[in-house]
Amino acid sequence: MDMSIALILGQDGITNGAIYALLALALVLVFAVTRVIFIQQGEFVAYGALTLAMMQSGATPATVWLLVAMGGLVTAFDGLKALKAGQMQRAGMVAGWNLAYPLALVAVLSALPVNELPLVLQVVLTLAIVVPMGPMMYRLMYQPIASAPVLILLIVSVALHIAMVGLGLLFFGAEGHRTPAFSELSFDLGPLMVTGQTIWVLVVSVLLIVALYQFFERTLYGKALRATAINRVGAQLMGISPALAGKLTFFLAAFIGALSGVLIAPITTIYYDTGFLIGLKGFVAAIIGGLASYPIAALGAIAVGLLEAFASFWASAYKEVIVFTLIIPVLLWRSLTSHHVEEEE
């Protein structure tokens, strides 16, 4: 290997690593606030990428029907409950966000020539379809059993992952898709050719991380989520609704997932089931951070990206084996540094 190949691999590794870092941050956040291990993060990545691809091919993305169905269920549960309690305004709010909004999206998608829209509008529409599924999913699947043990929540996540992969196959078919790059720009930096998409990924990742940091440090809702992560009961006693915290967290996680998908789609061909492996690499990074530390998780993600890039050069057949076996020394190290017998939640 010479210097130029090392640089190219390094660039690949850091680009993918930035995506894994975003996913790892979302995973740590979801686990800290809701104790849910968000296995289906990867499906949000795939749904984001493939919804965009479907739009560009001129079809109405099938994911919007899933949004309508989920929204309908939420309206049926929460709207009727509010109606029975005589809270008309609340019922209206529920129906507005969960029923009227998805239907309005359907109308917009069928009225506009979506494949001729500028890329940025397509991306916005993609996020508008995929991201609200996050909070709806929390409401339907997790909220009824929010106090269940971590293990039960994990099994629910795995079940949803399985269902979402199946739906992905139904929506997008078995073929992979790659979307056009955000910018065709490329320039030479010494011996290295830097592409526009790499710059996009890195800039968006850094901006998003800074924005998240500001959100958690400066805003009331961000602080509410941090409080919930530190002490669930205490936060609840201070008036922070666990259901709201859960939905907000899932909103953020779905946003990060879908955006990562949109960012990575021009770099890698995405199939309906690609998300799982991408999400799991985020997990390896999150586990490096012990599912608790954001900075270590982000650094771990870069390490995973680099390891993957170099492994694909030296032993491409064993690329996945090498990346997932990385988890073993990490677990070993964590295991050696913990001596405590504790009750599982």
């Binding site: 994990l154 079940a159 399985i162 492996l277 076996t325 073993i328 964590r334 295991s335």
Partner: protein, 597 residues
């Protein structure tokens, strides 16, 4: 005739007849159900009973299948290994050994960490192993290995679905019997304590890390055996059935069937396998596309099961056949468990010397000293926040003093884990009751005798432990009678009133045959008569030479019972002496009643 035996007998008779009366299609289906149920059985033990889980069981199945496939078809094995490939029975042993080694390795990496690292680790290594099967050319890559010989048993070649059927179900039933026996034993109680009772179990001397490892390895071995059978039934292997998604399907089987129940494994494997067949025929034509769409239904079904019937289908099915619950019998003839010789009355048992414990700037205990002698009851009292619980934690080894030391029988307590301290003869109850609510009072108390008995997993699994088990149960029953819970012996521990649960904890502590009893607020929640009975019991123990340390708020109870009192306030000892002296002590009066201005 007991109903349960009747139902079981009918089930076995039906199984025997299956190959004769059902068409080959259904025999094959039942073969698969048997193979899957074996893996699900491991998950019952791991997830339902032990509170751990693994998505990597399919990889263990793969280890079993690939070991036998590679060894029985290889033509160029080195001489020292060639004999293993001669018979599938040798390769079964080889597969089990390899699987056990891998499971021990993975277990030692992940089992010490909190529960969710294990499933995440298993997903990762399940994927690794799947890709490894697919990429290693010596294992045939993605096309796999063909030409695996059938199993032979006493000259009978099991090369048809109807023949291997008996072997598969014999393996499964053997696995179920073993698991059932294991759970109903000394080791089994330790395993059942893993879910929600680890701290308590450790305090009773159970090595919970070892218990976790045991169930992880057993689950892996069951999966490996299933893989071995699978390889010799199919006569070829490829990586597809060992991927992580199949591992997830195994977990679905266990959860849908009823993860806490041995029979749940068969129910779950049956339901999921039949449903899968049916959906695979039906869904693609309905949706007009081909693919594994049954996964959508499984995913949603799984969430519904966890929302609506978290215990799975087995408990619902069980209600259909009314059965009398059968209590354990206590064998009055059983030999008593060996007892330790208690130190002579007056011997110094426990000594705390200048114990100081700081939490940052807060001094919770400051230069606390106390001693307890054999045949004496010492009370540690003080207003709320005086540092009693902190002191209790230093003595019981849960926490380590910043300076000073605690000596139990002349040996320092600090730095030892709860198990060692229990072994030395200190036994405790908890301020917040810690018991296993769905287990009977008898079984809860029997956990206390863990260190007084020795039969291991293998003897438990094959019922070689019955003599010792009878002795344990007799001892537990004796302690239950002694504390006055005889009428509740077979009730679920969680159904008792809080006061009675505290008494149960005392019985459990006594079952360990200690020489020092630490009781944390034993009288809280008791009625007057119950308090009197408890006081009588403690007096009787004192006359037998037991040393007792009580932390308690109920002054009437304390003052009429104990020999000496130590009073704490703001982390310090403010008085010590006979109950009458302490009650007159101006510092104590001020601490409890406030000073006179």
């Amino acid at each position: 005739m007991r109903t349960d035996r009747l139902v079981l007998g009918a089930f076995l008779a039906l199984l025997l007849m299956v190959p004769a009366i059902l068409s080959p299609y259904y025999v094959t289906l039942l073969n698969y159900i048997g193979l899957y149920a074996m893996v699900a059985l491991g998950l019952v033990l791991l997830t339902g009973v032990g509170g751990l889980t693994s998505f990597g069981q399919a990889a263990f199945v793969g280890l079993g299948a690939y070991t036998t496939a590679a060894l029985t078809t290889a033509t160029d094995l080195p001489a020292w290994l060639a004999w293993v490939g001669a018979s599938p029975w040798f390769t079964l042993v080889a597969g089990l050994l390899i699987t056990a080694a891998v499971a021990v390795l993975l277990g030692s990496l992940t089992l010490k960490l909190s529960g969710h690292f294990l499933p995440l680790g298993t997903i990762a290594w399940g994927i690794s192993l799947y890709f490894l099967f697919g990429t290693m050319q010596s294992l045939g890559g993605h096309t796999g290995i063909t030409g695996i010989p059938p199993i032979e048993l006493f000259g009978w070649t099991l090369d048809g679905g109807g023949e291997i059927f008996y072997l598969i179900w014999a393996f499964l039933l053997l696995g179920m019997l073993t698991t059932h026996n294991l759970l109903d034993s000394r080791e089994g109680r330790a395993i059942r304590a893993l879910k929600g009772g680890r701290v308590m179990a450790e305090a009773m001397g159970v090595d919970t890390g070892r218990a976790r490892m045991i169930i992880f390895v057993i689950a892996a071995l069951l999966a490996c055996a299933s893989g071995w059978l699978y390889a010799h039934m199919q006569r070829f292997v490829n990586p597809t059935p060992f991927g992580v998604h199949i591992g997830i399907e195994y977990l679905f089987m266990a959860v849908v069937g009823g993860a806490g129940y041995v029979w749940g494994a068969i129910v779950g494997a049956g339901v999921i396998t039949v449903l899968k067949q049916w959906l695979q025929d039906w869904l693609p034509s309905l949706l007009g596309a081909s693919g594994n769409f049954e996964m959508i239904v499984f995913g949603i079904l799984m969430v519904l099961v966890l929302h609506r019937a978290r215990e799975g289908l087995w408990p619902i099915l069980k209600k259909l056949v009314p059965m009398r619950t059968i209590h354990k019998t206590i064998d009055a003839q059983a030999e008593p468990l060996p007892r330790r010789t208690l130190p002579a009355p007056g011997t110094l048992i426990l000594e705390a010397k200048d114990v100081t414990r700081r939490f940052g700037g807060l001094v919770a205990n400051n230069n606390m000293s106390l001693e307890v002698k054999a045949g004496e009851i010492l009370a540690l009292i003080g207003p709320n926040g005086a540092g009693k619980s902190t002191m209790f934690n230093q003595i019981s080894g849960v926490d380590t003093p910043t300076s000073g030391e605690v000596l139990f029988l002349g040996k320092p307590v600090a730095g030892r884990d709860s198990r060692e301290i229990a072994r030395m003869g200190m036994s405790r109850t908890f301020q917040h009751v810690k018991l296993l609510p769905t287990m009977s009072v008898l079984e809860n108390v029997a956990i206390g005798a863990h260190l007084r008995s020795h039969k291991g997993v293998l003897s438990s699994a094959w019922r070689l432990d019955r003599a010792e088990e009878a002795r344990i149960l007799k001892e537990a029953a004796h302690q239950i009678e002694r504390v006055g819970l005889k009428d509740h012996m077979f009730d679920e521990a969680g159904s008792l009133a809080l006061g009675q649960q505290r008494i149960l904890e005392i019985a459990r502590a006594l079952c360990a045959d200690p020489c020092l009893l630490l009781l944390d607020e034993p009288a809280a929640g008791l009625r007057y008569k119950e308090k009197q009975a408890l006081a009588e019991l403690l007096k009787r123990l004192r006359s037998e030479g037991m040393a007792t340390l009580i932390v308690e708020h109920d002054m009437d109870f304390v003052m009429n019972l104990v020999d000496r009192v130590v009073v704490m306030e703001f982390g310090q000892k403010i008085a010590e002496g006979l109950p009458e002296e302490v009650q007159q002590n101006p510092a104590v009066l001020e601490a409890y009643l406030g000073g006179v201005e």
